[in-house]
C-alpha cells in the first residue's frame, strides 16, 4: 500500500525525525545531568564542565546519603506511605464505587450528588488545615493514609470500568446466596485488575511525589517523607546538615552539598522512572476513561 514518497515528504520526514530527537534529548538531559553529577566527585564537579559523563567517578555521594539516618528514615516513610495508602485507596474507593453503582442502593442519588459536588468545590486550605489539626492527624503518620484513602474522581473511573463487566456472573452468585460484599471481593476485584493497576499507579505516583503534606502537617523529622526532606534541603538549604552526618573523612574530602542533593534526587526519582514504562498501557487507558467521563 506504500506509495512512492515525494521529495517534500522526505524533507518533512527528516525535519520531523530531527525534531523528535531534539525533544527526546531535551527531555532526558536534565535527568542524565543529575545522574552524572551524582556519580562525580563533589569538589571536582564544582569546577564545572561536567555535562555528559562523570570526570572523577565516585560512589561517595551515595555512601554519604545512605549513611545519613535522616534520609534513610525519610525513604522508609515514603515507601510505607506509598504502599499503605495506595493499597487502601484502591480497595476502599473500588468498594464504595461498586456500592454507589447499584441501582437498588437506598440513598444512591444523594451519595452520588454529594460526591459530584466535591469535584467542583472544596473548603480550601485553611478549613482543611484546621480539620486535620482537630482530628489529631497533625504530626501523625495517618495524615498520609486516611485523607488519601478516597477520591471521587477515581470512583468515577472505577464505575466506568465496572459497568463493562458481564452481569451474568454477579447474578448467578446472587442466586447462590452470596452477599454484595462477597460478590465484590470474589468476583468484581479479580476481574478488575487493569483498572486497579491504573488507579494504583496514579495514587502511587501522587504519594511518592507529594511533599506538601509533609511540609504543612508534619514537623517531626522522623515522619517526613523523602520529597519533603528534599524540599527542605533545596528550598531552605539545610544540606550542610547532611554533610555533618557523613561518615568520617568523606565529608571533608570530596562531597559537597550540591553533589549530595543530586544523589538524593536520583534515588528519589529512580524507582518511579524504572516502573512507569511497564505500566504505560494502564495509565493511558485510565487517562482516557477519565477524560471521557470528565
Amino acid at each position: 500500500m506504500k506509495m512512492k514518497s515525494s521529495l517534500g515528504d522526505k524533507i518533512f520526514d527528516i525535519f520531523n525525525i530531527t525534531l523528535m530527537l531534539i525533544i527526546c534529548f531535551v527531555t532526558l538531559y536534565p535527568i542524565w545531568y543529575i545522574i552524572v553529577y551524582s556519580f562525580n566527585d563533589g569538589k571536582d564537579a564544582m569546577l564545572g564542565g561536567i555535562y555528559f559523563w562523570p570526570r572523577k567517578f565516585t560512589l561517595d555521594n551515595y555512601i554519604t546519603v545512605f549513611s545519613n539516618s535522616d534520609i534513610t528514615t525519610a525513604f522508609m516513610v515514603t515507601i510505607a506511605r506509598t504502599i499503605i495508602t495506595t493499597t487502601l485507596h484502591v480497595f476502599f474507593t473500588a468498594m464504595v464505587a461498586y456500592a454507589f453503582m447499584k441501582k437498588e442502593l437506598v440513598g444512591r442519588k444523594i451519595y452520588m450528588t454529594m460526591g459530584t459536588i466535591t469535584l467542583f468545590f472544596g473548603g480550601g486550605l485553611i478549613p482543611y488545615f484546621l480539620l486535620i489539626k482537630s482530628l489529631g492527624l497533625y504530626n501523625n503518620f495517618l495524615v498520609y493514609v486516611i485523607p488519601g484513602m478516597f477520591n471521587f474522581y477515581n470512583l468515577i473511573i472505577f464505575q466506568a470500568f465496572f459497568r463493562e463487566l458481564p452481569v451474568e456472573l454477579e447474578e448467578s452468585a446472587k442466586i447462590d446466596g452470596a452477599n454484595d460484599f462477597l460478590i465484590f471481593t470474589r468476583i468484581i476485584i479479580p476481574l478488575s485488575m487493569p483498572v486497579l493497576a491504573t488507579i494504583a499507579l496514579f495514587v502511587g505516583v501522587y504519594n511518592w511525589n507529594d511533599y506538601f503534606t509533609g511540609v504543612i502537617f508534619i514537623n517531626n523529622p522522623k515522619l517526613q517523607p523523602i520529597q519533603t526532606f528534599l524540599y527542605k534541603v533545596i528550598a531552605e538549604t539545610t544540606s550542610n546538615q547532611m554533610l555533618a552526618y557523613a561518615p568520617g573523612g568523606i565529608a571533608t574530602r570530596n562531597v559537597t552539598s550540591q553533589s549530595l542533593k543530586m544523589a538524593t534526587m536520583v534515588i528519589t526519582t529512580l524507582p518511579i522512572v524504572c516502573v512507569y514504562p511497564f505500566l504505560q498501557k494502564y495509565f493511558v487507558k485510565g487517562l482516557l476513561i477519565g477524560a471521557i467521563k470528565g
Binding site: S5, D13, L28, I34, F92, G122, G123, L130, F181
Partner: protein, 318 residues
C-alpha cells in the same frame, strides 16, 4: 429478577416506613460498603466546606469555628483593598494565561507530528520518553532548575558562551524571569502527558480517509492539515474550554518550590498568598476569605465553560 419481584410482593402489605426498613435490611451489606465512603466525604470534604464560615468571622483559636465572632464581609473588603490584591490577580491569571498560550497548542502539535513518524518502534520510544517528566516530582525538577538557573549554573554558562548574556544572571532572584521559568518548566514536564488524549483521538480516525486522500495525490503535510487536525478538532475544543475553566488554578506544587522572597512580586499567586496569610501569618479567617474568593471565581469559570461546551458540541460536564 424473580427474587426482586418476590421481595416486593412480600413487603407490599407493610407501611411505607417499615417497607423502607425492610429494604435497608435487605441491602445491609451494600449500605455497609457505601456508608464508609459517605462518612469519609462528610469528614474530609463537607466539614471543611462548613469551615468556610470562618471567612465571615474573626477566627479565634481559643473560641473555635462556631463561637468566633461574626464580622460580615470585612475579610473580603480587606482583601480587595490589600496593596498586593492586583499584583496577586495579575500573577495568577498571567501565569495561567501564558501556560495556556504555550502549553495548550504544543501537545497537539507534538501528537500530530508524532503520528507522522513512519517507524512504529521509534514512535513508541519517543512516546515513552515524553511521558517521563510527568513522573518526576516538582521538588526534583525544582532542584535541577535552581542548580541550572543559578549564577554559575548551566544556563548562564551556555548563554554567556553564546554571547546572549554578558553578565551571568541569578534567574530565580529576579521577578521578571519568573513567569517564563514557570511556563517553560511546566511545558517541559507535561508536553508528552498532555498529548496522550490527542494521540488517542488521532488513533480513532478512519484510515480510509487517509487512503482516499493518498489516491487523490495528497502529500503528508496536506493530509496532516486537511484530515488529522480537522478530525480531532472536537477534542481540541473540549480540552481548550476545560483549560480556560482552570485559569484560576496556578500550579501550587510548582510555584511553591520555585518561589522565594526575591521573586515574590511575580510568584505570589492566590494559592501562595492563602498559604502565606494562613499558615505563615496565622490569619486563618483572612486566608479562608481569599480562598473562597478564588473558589467562587473558579466555579463561575467552570459553569461558563460548561455552557459554552454545551452550545458548541452537545457534550457537557453536567
Amino acid at each position: 429478577m424473580e427474587i426482586v419481584e418476590q421481595t416486593k410482593n412480600s413487603s407490599s402489605h407493610l407501611s411505607p416506613f417499615k417497607r423502607f426498613l425492610h429494604k435497608l435490611n435487605e441491602q445491609k451489606y451494600l449500605q455497609a460498603m457505601a456508608i464508609p465512603g459517605v462518612i469519609w466525604m462528610i469528614i474530609f470534604c463537607y466539614i471543611p466546606m462548613y469551615g468556610i464560615i470562618i471567612a465571615f468571622k474573626e477566627y479565634d483559636i481559643t473560641l473555635g469555628i462556631n463561637k468566633s465572632p461574626w464580622v460580615g464581609l470585612a475579610n473580603f473588603r480587606e482583601f480587595f483593598s490589600d496593596e498586593r490584591f492586583w499584583l496577586i490577580i495579575k500573577n495568577t491569571v498571567g501565569i495561567s494565561f501564558f501556560k495556556l498560550l504555550v502549553g495548550f497548542p504544543l501537545p497537539i502539535l507534538f501528537a500530530v507530528l508524532l503520528n507522522e513518524l513512519t517507524s512504529v518502534r521509534f514512535k513508541r520510544t519517543v512516546q515513552t520518553i515524553s511521558y517521563l517528566p510527568h513522573f518526576i516530582s516538582w521538588v526534583v525538577l525544582g532542584g535541577i532548575l535552581m542548580n541550572w538557573l543559578s549564577e554559575t549554573g548551566l544556563i548562564n554558562i551556555i548563554f554567556t558562551k553564546l554571547g546572549i548574556l554578558k553578565q551571568p544572571i541569578t534567574f530565580l532572584a529576579e521577578p521578571k524571569y519568573f513567569w517564563g521559568i514557570a511556563v517553560i518548566s511546566e511545558v517541559w514536564k507535561e508536553l508528552g502527558w498532555n498529548a496522550i488524549i490527542y494521540l488517542a483521538a488521532i488513533a480513532g480516525i478512519d484510515p480510509e480517509l487517509y487512503e482516499a486522500a493518498t489516491v487523490d495525490g495528497a502529500g503528508r503535510i496536506t493530509k496532516m492539515f486537511k484530515i488529522t487536525i480537522p478530525c480531532i478538532s472536537g477534542t481540541i475544543a473540549i480540552m481548550f474550554i476545560l483549560a480556560v475553566s482552570g485559569l484560576m488554578n496556578s500550579n501550587f506544587d510548582q510555584i511553591f518550590v520555585l518561589r522565594n522572597p526575591l521573586n515574590a512580586d511575580a510568584s505570589d499567586v492566590i494559592d501562595i498568598y492563602v498559604y502565606k496569610m494562613g499558615i505563615e501569618a496565622f490569619r486563618f479567617s483572612y486566608a479562608t476569605a481569599i480562598g473562597l474568593f478564588k473558589s467562587i471565581i473558579a466555579l463561575i469559570l467552570l459553569l461558563l465553560a460548561n455552557g459554552v461546551t454545551k452550545k458548541l458540541t452537545d457534550k457537557s460536564l453536567f
